[in-house]
């Protein structure tokens, strides 16, 4: 898949942590790592199904008018 050559999971942890709203004070680290893990899993899964040539695929999605 062409999308996989741009994967960069190792550098993603810090940025993904910004997604976390108000981590619970009791175990913030555990929650952060599990949420980060969830996001990483999700992106890995989507990487695996995204159409391979994004630019060409998006350009090819042309519709005629509707209601």
């Amino acid at each position: 898949m062409a999308t996989q050559d741009r994967r960069n999971t190792s550098g993603s942890a810090t940025e993904a942590e910004e997604e976390i709203p108000d981590p619970a004070p009791a175990a913030p680290e555990a929650q952060e790592s599990s949420q980060t893990q969830g996001v990483d899993d999700l992106l890995d899964e989507i990487d695996g199904v995204l159409e391979s040539n994004a630019e060409e695929f998006v350009r090819g999605f042309v519709q005629k008018g509707g209601q």
């Binding site: 997604e19 519709q63 509707g66």
Partner: protein, 548 residues
């Protein structure tokens, strides 16, 4: 906290039909125009591809998934140029796409292109399904129009049934040798310049002046997107600016009120085509909504709209007058932080959430203590969602399409440092709506348990072949299931029978949406020996009282 799992109305409950108190129950239905491509055939004619969808579904019916009948649409009662404001548009002045009362036709050349089409059948452009829905070719898109239902949860169920039909057809095309696979998308724009609709229909009493509907609905529709927009990468009808916005449809709207649905689109559509007793009812045709994959978004889209209609009918709807409704629609859509304010004519500046709160509070004030379960459920979810959106919109990703989509996009931007112009983000936007179970991003989120669901998949599959029991859709669907050989045409308000040995066609009108129900007609269907006996009992026998 917003939980999962919907509650069904108990069978046999008498529902207020229209204009009876503050309630989510009324006759309603949805329409979905699906985006369509055949990736291997970039120049394929979209009308032809759409007809392949209809014909592929017909093929699955022939193979035993249901009965094939009523392939001719009865256009007698279609009046797309009649304006709810009390006049009729001149036919010559109408845009060709407004002439929806004419059957679409494929040229001989287009049909000749259809390699490998099963030879026993002509090219079908229209089907009426066993569940009472219509599947047909609308301009350049396949469209599923749901059967009439009486509650938001049923609206979600039979809307999802349409997606099930679409997926079934798509998979069938992919399995036929010689046919190029087709992909269907439940979205509303190609993000180049074109938009296509997902419409809602609500039955309202004719006695409510149209101007009262319009004045209260314009600010409601300008702000409703915050709870049920589907999200879009790109700003402007031509996608001329990079960024993310809440609504797929917002940028394609240019007017406040009008008859058109394909050009100069208005927030309030005035098409007056009731498909019912015209003296008693209007069918409010809502064209501004986004197509929803998230079931809670869809549920709240129709549920809150039904509630606002009941406020209008009771004369207690708020009417915050926007200085510039179309500008407000765009401004609210363009700000996913939900902080943008729009101006009212009384000088106040309000956010989209403020406007939604106004309507939600009016419902809470007017809600009777003995409100039914589903009405209360919609109100509770609406109120809770507005509170969540005020706290942090990202916390509502399980319930709202645009937020789930934005969350995925932001995660990609964070991980890979992508600008909004990156084609991968445009692809994620598109593929969110891909209906293929393995490829669609919403489909993956649902399978992972990352979104709230309201209707179990088994129930959706059931609803693809069974009509609702509490509207005339029951009569339509059951006629098609029981008498496939004799039902030669159908529409929302009629069924046409052709009996063997009789020259004359028999047209049965179904102009009362709350007749033709299982309660009224199930016994008749069970008793009748055949179509002739059925018609005789229905139209002249002692069973006349149950006639639709």
């Amino acid at each position: 906290m917003i939980g999962t799992g919907g509650r069904r109305t108990a069978p046999g409950t008498v529902l207020p039909a229209v204009g009876e108190g503050i309630s989510v129950h009324r006759v309603m239905g949805t329409e979905t125009e699906y985006g369509i491509i055949a990736p291997a055939l970039p120049s394929a004619n979209p009308t032809l591809l759409s007809s392949q969808v209809v014909n592929a579904y017909a093929a699955t019916l022939r193979e035993g998934l249901g009965n094939l009948a009523g392939t001719r649409w009865d256009y007698t009662d279609e009046t797309p140029l009649t304006d709810a404001r009390g006049f009729r548009m001149d036919r010559a002045g109408a845009h060709p796409s407004q002439l929806t009362d004419e059957p679409p036709e494929l040229s001989a050349e287009q049909i000749a292109l259809e390699r490998g089409e099963p030879t026993e059948a002509a090219v079908l452009m229209n089907l009426v399904l066993n569940n009472g829905a219509r599947l047909y070719v609308d301009h350049a898109h396949p469209e599923y129009s749901s059967p009439e239902v009486t509650s938001p949860l049923d609206a979600v169920l039979w809307d999802r049934a349409g997606d099930h039909v679409a997926v079934t057809a798509m998979q069938r095309i992919g399995a036929v040798p010689g046919f190029s696979p087709v992909i269907l998308y439940k979205n509303n724009t190609d993000n180049k310049s074109v938009s296509y609709g997902s419409h809602e229909n609500y039955l309202v009493p004719r006695s409510v002046p149209f101007s009262k509907l319009a004045e209260a609905l314009i600010p409601f529709f300008a702000s409703r997107q915050v709870i049920c927009g589907a999200g879009r990468v790109g700003l402007g009808p031509l996608n001329q600016e990079p960024g993310f916005q809440i609504s797929q449809r917002a940028d394609f709207f240019e007017n406040e009120i009008g008859l058109e649905t394909t050009v100069r689109r208005p927030i309030i559509n005035t098409r007056d085509e009731p498909h019912a007793v015209a003296e008693k009812y209007r069918r409010l045709h809502v064209i501004i909504g986004d197509a929803n994959l998230n079931e809670v978004s869809n549920y709240l889209k129709v549920g809150t709209t039904a509630l606002v209609l009941s406020l209008i009918e009771q004369g207690v709807a708020p009417v915050p007058v926007l200085e510039d409704p179309v500008g407000a629609l765009h401004a609210i859509s363009h700000d996913p932080s939900l902080r943008t304010t729009v101006r009212l004519t009384d000088g106040r500046s309000v956010t989209g959430l403020d406007l939604q709160d106004l309507y939600c509070e009016a419902v809470l004030d007017a809600l009777p203590a003995d409100a039914d379960e589903q009405t209360r459920d919609v109100v509770d979810r609406w109120q809770a969602l507005l509170a969540t959106l005020r706290r942090d919109p990202m916390d509502a990703a399980r319930q709202v399409d645009w937020i789930a989509k934005l969350k995925v996009l932001e995660a990609y931007r964070a991980r890979d440092g992508l600008a909004w112009t990156d084609p991968r983000l445009a692809l994620i936007d598109l593929q969110y709506a891909d209906l293929r179970p393995e490829k669609g991003i919403y489909q993956r989120l649902a399978r992972r348990g990352d979104v709230d669901l309201l209707v179990p998949p088994a129930e959706v599959a059931w609803a693809a072949v069974h009509p609702p029991r509490d509207t005339r859709a029951y009569f339509r669907g059951r006629c098609i299931a029981e008498y496939p050989a004799e039902v030669v045409g159908a529409s929302w308000d009629s069924l046409i029978f052709e009996l063997a040995g009789e020259r004359r066609l028999q047209r049965v009108q179904t102009r009362e949406p709350l007749r033709g129900t299982a309660a009224l007609t199930a016994e008749l269907f069970d008793l009748a020996a055949d179509a002739e006996d059925f018609l005789a009992r229905l139209l002249s026998g002692p069973d006349r009282r149950v006639a639709p």
